[in-house]
Symmetry: C2
Subunit: 221 residues, 2 copies
DNA sequence: GAATACATACCGACCGATGGTATGTATTAT
DNA sequence: ATAATACATACCATCGGTCGGTATGTATTC
């Protein structure tokens, strides 16, 4: 293949193809040859010129995968108009608001069959999302009086563990009915901690989703 | 190598060696040759006579790994002397009671570096521990009046997700100090749900653990 | 209680595919 | 012109797995 004047394009293509394969077939089940085959003429030498190992490709893919959510979180964190609580509300509205459209979930239907990706998500959550975004927001909430807790760090972790793992259908497959029940219990838990993240509007979305799916099941007869 | 009159011994040896390697180096990083090398003269042919793939060895190892905890859980579940709540209390006493001695945690210090094992644990939790043990116990508690909830299934999942993932130092590495704070927040969450799982005695253990570690840090000067 | 028939435990050479490397060549930047 | 870069090609050790074969066990028959 002819040499590309703009090697970034090549790199991006490698990452795009790899992302698709890693997410579809799983990291371990994707061979370097699979990636090369999806690259339209590019060869192994080219790939190993840009990345020094399969693992490094994975790392780059992960980074790219979390870039969007990181930008969303930092945008909300740095919004000067909102209280701590309002920021948390906004985050849960965005990340739980469109249950079907979550990029990660939509492409990786079952993270348990993709353990490497699952571990990467947990690691990102603990090493980055909690200390860099959620915990600072909660601490702001403690200062501005919108959130009251003795455990900012620990509460951040609980919030993310529950939303990103327990409420994540890519980790625990969940029917719309059960998802509605889960969200209600989640709301109970948060209310018990003095946190009020959800408005009626959000429940209505899940209820609608539930009613839609129920109708589908009925119409299958 | 001479033929073994009791082939179960051979199988058990394969499983023992594999468990050690999988847990120490990780599943993907353990080669069949590694296992064979640890087997004292047994060869590849023998190994593949007893197991048809590396994956099947992993499955057998996992099963063996969860046998103990399963027996503990079913024993408590079938205890006719206890209320539902008392059973939950007993379970958390046993599984959170000796933080350092948890078999799984002690052998696999970092599950994020062993994603396959992590996924297996989550799967076991959702597919078995919740529906077979915890949920029935909670439903008993609803009948005998010791537990009040509208979400037996969902509450079971939350309990296990928080204890087995969030409170699991093999998943999220945690200092004794932070572990104490986590357990306190966990207790707050449960109390908010009307669940009272912990007695003072348990907190004292974690506090003691904390004080011990603090002294260690001081004596390092 | 031999002889026979079959099942099981194990051996070790071999296979294609895998992730990775070494080296060569053409193109671009300086 | 020359150095750096983008890519190709040939090659490597190791990987998980297969297969034909042997030795040793057990059950059945005579």
């Amino acid at each position: 293949m002819a040499r590309n004047k703009y090697p970034e394009e090549t790199i991006n293509q490698i990452l795009t193809v790899s992302l698709h394969l890693f997410v579809q077939k799983g990291y371990e089940q994707t061979s370097i040859q699979d990636i090369i085959n999806g690259l339209g003429g590019l060869t192994k030498g080219a790939l190993y010129h840009h990345f020094k190992s399969k693992e490094e490709i994975m790392q780059a893919v992960i980074e790219h995968l979390f870039k969007d959510v990181d930008e969303m979180l930092s945008g909300i964190r740095d919004d000067n108009e909102l209280s701590g609580l309002e920021k948390l509300q906004k985050i849960s509205r965005v990340s739980l608001g469109n249950p079907a459209q979550d990029e990660m979930a939509s492409v990786a239907p079952n993270l348990l069959r993709n353990p490497k990706l699952l571990a990467a998500q947990i690691e990102h959550m603990i090493e980055k999302a909690v200390p860099v975004y959620i915990q600072p927001i909660i601490e702001q909430g403690m200062r501005d009086g919108s959130i009251r807790t003795d455990y900012p760090r620990e509460l951040s972790e609980v919030l993310l563990v529950l939303t990103n793992l327990w409420l994540n259908p890519a980790v625990i497959q969940t029917s719309p009915e059960m998802m509605l029940r889960k969200v209600r219990l989640f709301d109970d838990i948060l209310k018990g901690l003095g946190l009020d993240l959800f408005d009626e509007h959000m429940f209505q979305r899940y209820e609608e989703l539930f009613r839609l799916s129920a109708r589908e099941v009925n119409s299958e007869n």
